[in-house]
Symmetry: none
Subunit: 205 residues, 2 copies
DNA sequence: TATTATACTGTACATACATTCAGTATTTTT
DNA sequence: AAAAATACTGAATGTATGTACAGTATAATA
């Protein structure tokens, strides 16, 4: 997939919005009106560029014969993601007994793939905007950087905290709430498991 | 919704299949070819019957201007929701120039239906876990209760705040951040527009 | 029994629309 | 520095398409 220009993105968005609104694709004239072009050929050339780059297909001769192609960057395949309650003790396993329910969600919903939703208990990450009962989209990985919000387990205790590596052997798990204190982990004496990191958040009012 | 005849059902199915296959609705001639009719008027009369019964809408004069209306038979699970930037001034309209992009999301993703995502600017609702650049799922409604997180507009200023009715004529818009003060609105002197309320939140790390 | 809805064929026509050609100008890539 | 891509205006044209009109026939409804 070649890169799209900002004007081409506008045209692509315009097509999608038009389809959402009306149920069928726009004509060249419709696009011109929406985007302020004065010649139908302005739309035409953009459409041909989008076609050449693989974003749309155009059926020759057909009125409104535009269809937006599902491209690899933005697959909209849905998937049932499990929601796991953050229990005070124990690893947040995907074992059936820990799954409260599932949520249907496009696979590429967040910027990164993820594996499950974790239901937050407590307010230790309040200042990072993570509230009780929020659902954190967790990607299972141990590849975490300083500042990442990680799901960490020490012994059997699972918490959500900021990750800070202070030295090769010292990790600090930092809450986002003044009522809580940093957890300092010495990797030589304590066992730290990084279950994954947060790639997004979902809240239902 | 009146009852559909078997032939009308065939035509309706044909339209849906055609859209699934091509991305845009069929012409009268397309329908005839698919179903073996020999006159475009066969399709035309069926379309008019389907329109009269509320199964489809037809845009007059537009090629392929058929759209299947939402009904029990054809639930659409996913939908492209627009993301609107919260601009300091002006109503968060769904006008094209305000739509930053769209997000594909199941219609029943939050507990209530919603209309668009609003991208949050500022930290006035920080203590409610709403951070800069979070996406609030907004349901367009004026039916709001005390304690609801509302999208309110005073003159041209749009804000997200808690809604509190202090008296029949006095509304307080309460931030969730000590650095901000309550906005007191006297409905007799000030104009307050409730654009909608928050029914959920989405954050991408 | 009269009327309306359904279910077609067939012809005709105005126009909605895709598409090409001719230009101009700016930016990006080679 | 040349070539290609981008980003438009403007005019022209053939045809794709909606839609009206004229029929025929059967089933459903009032």
């Amino acid at each position: 997939m070649k890169k799209i220009t900002s004007q081409q993105q506008r045209v692509l968005d315009c097509i999608q919005i038009y389809i959402n609104k009306t149920g069928f694709p726009p004509t060249r004239a419709n696009i011109c009106k929406e985007l302020g072009f004065k010649s139908p050929n302005s739309a035409e050339t953009h459409l041909r560029a989008l076609e050449k780059k693989g974003f749309i297909s155009i059926e020759s001769g057909a009125s409104r014969g535009i269809s937006i192609l599902d491209n690899q960057e933005y697959p909209v395949n849905d998937y049932e993601y499990p929601v796991i309650g953050l229990v005070a003790a124990g690893s947040p396993t995907l074992a059936e007994e820990n799954i409260e329910r599932t949520i249907n969600c496009p696979k590429s919903f967040f910027n990164s793939n993820f594996d499950y939703f974790l239901k937050v208990k407590g307010l230790s990450m309040k200042n990072a905007g993570i509230m009780e009962d929020d659902l954190i989209a967790v990607k299972k990985t141990t590849d975490v950087k300083n500042g990442d919000i990680v799901i960490a387990r020490i012994d059997d205790e699972v918490t959500v905290k900021f990750f800070r590596r202070k030295s090769p052997k010292i990790i600090e798990l930092e809450p986002a709430n003044d009522d809580f204190t940093n957890i300092i982990v010495n990797l030589e004496t304590d066992e730290l498991h990084i279950e994954g990191k947060s790639v997004g958040l979902l809240r239902k009012n």
